[in-house]
Amino acid sequence: MSTLAMSTLAMSPLATTAFDGMLAVLIAWTAWQSVTSREVFRAVMLFVVFGLLLALAWLRLGAPDVALAEAAVGAGLTGVLFLESLGHLRRNKTVEPPETVAQSRLRRWAVGLPVVVAGGLLAMVALRLEPRVPGIAGLVVRHQGETGVSNPVTAVLLDFRSTDTLLEVVVLLLAVIATYGLVPHGPAHHGPRVRPPATPRPPRQPVLVWFVRRLAPLALLVGVYLWWVGSSAPGGAFQAAAVVAAVFALLRVSGMEAAPPPNARPMRLLMVAGSVAFVSQGLAMLAAGRVFLDLPETVAYGLIVSLEGVLAASLAACLIALVAGAPRPPRQSGERP
């Protein structure tokens, strides 16, 4: 019984189906509750539960890499992001605005009907789909040896389809750039004065502080482990980065600022390091007479692991910056000196 996936193999088909059915119903129920909740806080909490249950579903689908990402990134970090921005919205902005009965009934039908039709059509098409040509799983197995990594998902992400991954790393960096672009500029800024967002700083909780102090190093260790293990088992740079960012978020809510202010230049350097390293590695291969982003078989393993290390640190910096939100307005426009 080394993994959960293994242990479920022993279950009888009937028990598996029953378990899957219950899981599916639970997931659908939490999603329904979250989508129809009038309170944002409730919706977010249900969304986190939804994400954790979904991680279980990914395990059942035989996709442990996705399960880890779902738990760490999907449910964990997205939940933190939602909660963080809830803290910045004023009380009356965190509930659905009231509507008359007629309005809400109209909305329900006008949106509900087409959506049910769309979902039904999708289910029909997907269920009746007949594969004509097999996928590339066989090719992945055949060529995996040339990538040096034994986790097929990592082989796809960092070698066979590394262009996708490069662009995805840039997307995350771009989210930070765009968020930082939201800072009001100079004295000519129109509209009501923007209050610098107050960092949520609850009174110090001794028990929480004790717990977080002990958890933080452990969680960092988990992050490093996830990066290291990614080449051979489920895990990888993104999952690692999400765990590290979650530690930061935890330190933040317990009133301890661990990281330098995200706006500082060293942090910005770290944020761009992942994209820059990825692109530079691709160009270096070109300069060595190979193809853009190519990984020669002899050094592929080393390059993938080291690149994933840089990516993990850099993505963690980006995620931390996203959790912390836009930096405070520049000095000349803020009220405080």
């Binding site: 066979f160 262009t163 996708d164 662009l167 765009a178 672009g181 800024h189 820059v276 160009l283 990984l295």
Partner: protein, 481 residues
């Protein structure tokens, strides 16, 4: 001499890598060095596009297996004339806009805005170049997301979060539909590569559903009627140089992907003729609705944004022409000419709007009186670019519409010709409105009042683009395969 083996891989890789690296650098450091770097990279990107064009001219379509893996395992970039020209033209437009933005953004809102604009613009440029070359439906999804997020970031720079959020939400939902289509295609046909898909796709429910999802997705992202609602507020409220990039270049990203799917995969589903007529009708509505809305507007930037909705409608009208055997060649050439000339002309017009805002502080049409007297070159640019929108000879827009008319008559679909001509008339009305306001003199104001100063480079940047739009009228259609 064959350029391809040596130069093309470098040019293609640098078209993606340089903007990304420069964008990262501009995120870390600002100031004059960053401004120079950004401009230099835009010019180099355009140069890379020219090298690619020359390579394609000499040696035909090029395929680069990225990371050394051929499809279906890996991803290839396909560099054909369309992609190469798009890279060249996009770099050129970005260069002009960056020249303009360095000055106008700081005039508008003080220091700092151009610092935030630069990295966004550069990453956007890299994403667009990757989009043009991508030959893999999922890689196209990632590049589309990159482009959309950068574009939303640009809209948000101006400080209208509601418009940006609307754009973001439509973009995400479009991306979801598109990704579903990718998943269905892979499950059924075992590949994501466009060329392989073209050979493997069989008519049937799966293929039709997948392509319908993908087309709806790119229509949402590309503001193609009836999913265009987010565009006018977003493009109308963004700072002018951002609008120039969004309306000029980004808006065509969605149609570009649609065209790729249309040319490669869609014929194999057997559903193309019917779908083409539907899209053509939607395009007609876009032309009518966008033009009429543009005529009603009182602000120059919003007028231009609605005109973009109408012009994207023309592109959709070209689809039934491309789908017909007789009109395929000239229909395609016409659509490409229209994309290229509208990109330059619309960017030029938004830049002139930016120049006017920079000196006058607003873009209300009624208060633009006297602009032509104060800034003749800017008003000239507005008129010159407007000629392309109307399709007057000898502009690039004229050639485009001529080719589309030719295609519709050749394929016996005269009703599309009526749409094209009617749309041109309407375009004439709103271009005339925009230009005539600036030409009229303010009554009773002393004419010797000192016109507010307008830096030369603002005027030249816009004029250069308008001239390119005009020059495209002299490029023969055969050069765009």
């Amino acid at each position: 001499m064959s350029l391809a083996p040596l130069l093309i891989p470098w040019a293609a890789a640098l078209a993606l890598a340089l903007p990304l690296l420069a964008g990262a650098a501009c995120f870390v450091v600002g100031g004059r060095a960053a401004a120079t770097l950004a401009l230099g990279v835009a010019v180099l990107s355009s140069a890379a596009g020219i090298v690619l064009t020359a390579g394609v001219e000499a040696d035909g379509v090029q395929r680069l297996a990225l990371a050394g893996w051929a499809p279906p395992l890996g991803i290839v970039w396909r560099i054909d004339g369309l992609a190469a020209l798009a890279v060249a033209l996009t770099g050129l437009i970005f260069a002009a806009v960056l020249v303009h933005a360095e000055k106008s953004l700081d005039l508008l809102r003080g220091e700092g805005l151009s610092e935030a604009f630069r990295p966004l613009a550069l990453v956007l440029l890299g994403g667009l170049n990757a989009l043009y070359m991508a030959n893999d439906v999922f890689n196209l999804y990632v590049t589309l997301e990159l482009v959309t997020l950068a574009a939303v970031g640009m809209v948000a720079l101006a400080g209208d979060p509601a418009a940006a959020l609307r754009y973001l939400l439509v973009g995400v939902l479009g991306a979801l539909a598109y990704m579903l289509g990718c998943g269905l295609l892979y499950a059924a046909f075992g590949t994501l590569d466009l060329d392989l898909l073209a050979g493997r796709v069989e008519p049937g429910g799966t293929a039709s559903a997948a392509l319908a999802l993908m087309i709806v997705g790119v229509m949402a992202k590309g503001a193609l009627f009836p999913l265009h609602g987010w565009l006018p507020p977003a493009h109308g409220s963004a700072v002018a140089p951002a609008s120039a990039l969004l309306s000029g270049v980004v808006a065509k990203g969605g149609f570009y992907v649609l065209l790729r799917l249309w040319l490669d995969v869609y014929p194999a589903t057997g559903a193309a003729p019917a779908a083409a007529q539907i899209l053509g009708v939607l395009g007609t509505l876009a032309v009518l609705w966008g033009s009429l809305q543009a005529i009603r507007q009182t602000r120059l930037k919003v007028l231009l944004a609605y005109s973009t909705v109408a012009q994207l409608g023309y592109l959709m009208v070209s689809l039934p022409l491309i789908a017909s055997a007789a009109g395929h060649a000239s229909g395609l050439a016409g659509a490409l000419h229209l994309m290229a000339s509208h990109a330059c002309a619309k960017a030029a017009m938004f830049l002139t709007a930016g120049s006017l805002i920079a000196t006058r502080g607003h873009d209300r049409l009624a208060d633009l009186k006297g602009a032509a007297h104060d800034h003749p070159m800017t008003a000239f640019t507005l008129g010159l670019a407007g000629m392309t929108l109307m399709g007057l000879p000898p502009s690039g827009g004229f050639i485009a519409k001529w080719l589309l008319l030719d295609a519709s008559l050749r394929s016996g679909q005269w009703w599309w010709a009526a749409v094209i001509l009617g749309g041109s008339l309407l375009a004439g009305v709103y271009v005339f409105l925009a230009v005539s306001w600036s030409m009229s003199r303010p009554p009773g104001e002393p004419s010797d009042a000192q016109p507010p100063p307008l830096p030369r480079r603002l005027e030249f940047a816009a004029l250069a683009l308008a001239l390119v739009a005009m020059a495209l009228g002299f490029v023969s259609a055969e050069h765009i395969p």
